[in-house]
Symmetry: C2
Subunit: 218 residues, 2 copies
Amino acid sequence: MSHTSYVSEATLRRLPTYLHLLRTHHQQGAEQVSCSAIGKELRLDPTQVRKDLEVTGSVGRPRIGFPVADLIEAIETFLGWNNVHDAFLAGAGNLGYALLGYDRLKDYGVHIVAAFDNDPRKIGTEVHGRQVLPIGRLESLVQRMHVRIGIITVPADHAQTVADRMVAGGILAIWNFAPVSLRLPQHIIVQNEELYYSLAALSRQVGDRLRSPREKGG
Amino acid sequence: MSHTSYVSEATLRRLPTYLHLLRTHHQQGAEQVSCSAIGKELRLDPTQVRKDLEVTGSVGRPRIGFPVADLIEAIETFLGWNNVHDAFLAGAGNLGYALLGYDRLKDYGVHIVAAFDNDPRKIGTEVHGRQVLPIGRLESLVQRMHVRIGIITVPADHAQTVADRMVAGGILAIWNFAPVSLRLPQHIIVQNEELYYSLAALSRQVGDRLRSPREKGG
DNA sequence: ATTTTATCGAGAATTATTTCTCGATTGAAA
DNA sequence: TTTCAATCGAGAAATAATTCTCGATAAAAT
């Protein structure tokens, strides 16, 4: 079934958006939804929506569309969001704090079980119910507790070191918020969070608009 | 010069990565850098790097590469990251708290000057030196202070309402962290933050790997 | 019962992006 | 001075993503 067939990054980006929309529809009692309807709401081409949803294995019916509940289930399964995996978070700064406080992370397949930091003032404290442990224990605890996912929210210049400790402990995947390209063995799954991309896109457009304000037509 | 010529989303995603790498090189004293070198470090095709950098207007020299300082400057200018714009943040929850605490946001063109919330316990307090004001004052203050950028970190079901208030006040751009597709006038610049995409990509790969562990070849 | 309309799914056409090729340029080495 | 190696920049080729086209299907309307 859900074999690792190739799915484009663009499609993978859109799937969570569909899922959120479908959940809203589901809450409002909708039982069927068409790709045209989804496309209209998200301003996407209906064929694109259809091709995207195809990867989840869900099938629709002409004139009717797709069953909402099935589709939600199919996307969640496809994304692996109904199997939650334990995670360690390294770097209990502002961003780490926010992630620890975000309960619904487990709806997206990730459950943070502990945080790690090198600041003695933070070590031993609790953040949103999770202990902050010394970074020196990261490797051995990854190994002992068979933790699969490591989240890196330390400053850029410590990210590689922390990642190396995780890998040494036998981690499977790393979610990296530091703006560096980590050097890791081939078999490690890495996801770099590009918070900066949004700021790039936003800032560029704002700058352009202020330079040539409200040009109509063209 | 920096006219709003079309630049692909993929290129725009990579530019901040180049910039971070270049800053590292610059700190280490490098004066010139070639696309081949950048490509090797980031595991990208050299031609792709060259074509990406082309959009910034910076020119390189055969055999030598690009002058690091110029290139940094060119990318920053292109992205608009050396002109900082004031921003209001709506939703002083965990994520809002983290953004307010992230000082370096101004290195990316955004300076949050105040936060807004509807929780009476938060209103009147300060978060990382910025006041939390009642959400009811959002519209009028956007107007009065000519704030350009609105950041939405409220729950999904309030996002549209908050966005409407910002637009009514005359905002130019919205950075939306809520997982909904906002309905806004054409002229408003919107950037949706897809934190969920990373979780989709990560979770999917982790699930696949655990299902068919370490298949070699094929 | 027949017609109409909305939609799916498959494949073709289009468009965009990435990768390859090659001549020109430049500094370093012979 | 001449040769060599690395790299740029432009354009061609290859690959990938999106959009269009169309026959099939299924429910609602006539």
